[in-house]
């Protein structure tokens, strides 16, 4: 064991090796591949009307978030947060359904946070493992967790926030 990467005794005091640049790269890649440039372009008429008839841009009014735990040498949470409208559109696109059920929404946002979380996990000290995603209505409440970094994406006109928190 070297002195530079020896884990500290107290949980959460090990510096997480997740920078804003890393998180931005991960988030951009996830949304670009799974929800944009992957196979087919999103239908033009849908993209147009949806963005125009959707007046809310503040996810706080009707938000959805999904959180996944990273457990092991480093412990914390990875969180994806967006408006319900955005989450429903993501679900429609990924699941190719017209009517989105609560289960569809859980599954879609949960899988997005799962993929982001898996990539974040590869940046923190091993060994570590991922929990299962938990998707809930409303804003994410950090509780005692300490912010590590967060990034904002614009997905088809909808703000999406991706953040990493260390357990304190």
């Amino acid at each position: 064991m070297t002195t530079t990467d020896a884990p500290a005794d107290a949980l959460g005091s090990t510096p997480a090796a997740v920078s804003v640049e890393d998180l931005q790269q991960i988030a951009d890649d996830v949304w670009a591949t799974f929800l944009d440039a992957g196979d087919v372009p999103p239908p033009g008429d849908d993209a147009g009307t949806d963005a125009e008839t959707d007046p809310e841009t503040d996810p706080g009014t009707d938000a959805v978030h999904s959180a996944i735990a990273v457990l092991g040498s480093w412990e914390g949470q990875v969180v994806v947060e967006c408006s319900r409208t955005a989450a429903e559109r993501m679900a429609r696109q990924m699941l190719m359904v017209t009517d989105v059920t609560p289960a569809d929404l859980d599954d879609t946002v949960g899988e997005l946070v799962n993929v982001v979380g898996g990539n974040v996990k590869s940046l923190v000290p091993a060994p570590s493992s991922l929990g299962l995603p938990v998707t809930e209505a409303g804003r994410w409440v950090a509780g005692g967790a300490a912010p590590v970094c967060s990034v904002h994406l614009d997905w088809a006109g909808h703000p999406v926030t991706v953040s990493v928190w260390s357990a304190a």
Binding site: D28, D29, G44, S122
Partner: protein, 293 residues
Amino acid sequence: MTLSPEAFRFVADLVRRESAIVLETGKEYLVDSRLRSLAVAAGDADVNAYVDRLRRPDGAREKSKVVEAMTTNETSWFRDREPFQALSGTIFQELMQRPNASRTIRIWSAACSSGQEAYTIAMLAAEHVVPLGWRVEIVATDLAQSMVDRTREGRYSQLEIGRGMPAPLLVKYFQREGTGWKVSDQLRSMVRVQTLNLAAPYPPMPVFDIVFLRNVLIYFDAATKKQVLGRVRQVLDPQGYLFLGGAETTLGIDDSWERSTIGRFTVNRPRGAVAAPTVGTAPLSGLAARKVI
């Protein structure tokens, strides 16, 4: 706001010129999504406004960012597969059967772009040549300093690695670094990188056994093609091999070459070279690993 046809055409021409990657009509959404963050960073309202900026005289720096954004993730490892099957299954063996006091094979990856071709060759050499006590020296060149720097750095994003890298070779020759992967010191030590303009006289070069000149000639006019082939001929061993892209040929341009077939693949050789031994194409190590139980 959607990308205008003029803006798309401008970006497609730029990318084709600088990287030999063709963006077909229908890929407008790809251009739009890849350039959106660059537009925001430049303070432009949308991608169309950003493309207008590229057309201005001071747009050169932004242009190189665009080429990088558009070509990232578009270059495959083992691109086209057959050339590399011919290389590892036949040509390496043929070269190692020759008398060669230095037991060294020299290969040039011309127009190396971000280095995937050079490191693909290096991986095959590390698998098939180095274990037999031979050395392989690879020279990778590109016109663009940015591409030379990227090749030298040897760091690839997760999405770049996803393009055709066989998993057994990934874990053998790359290490995770941040969100991406970094090529091993072993491969890096086999590859020397420098800038070079194929269309101008070359600096002193070693004599190569193999030259990879793939998907480059198509961007030159007939006279330049002939000049480039002539200069390549001067640095290639009379018994050497020239790899061109699938849509490229020396026919009708320079008659000092002849075609030789290895399996499904056609390679070019200086006229008068001894025919390659007819060896069946062996499967690439680490590729098509199925049926192993």
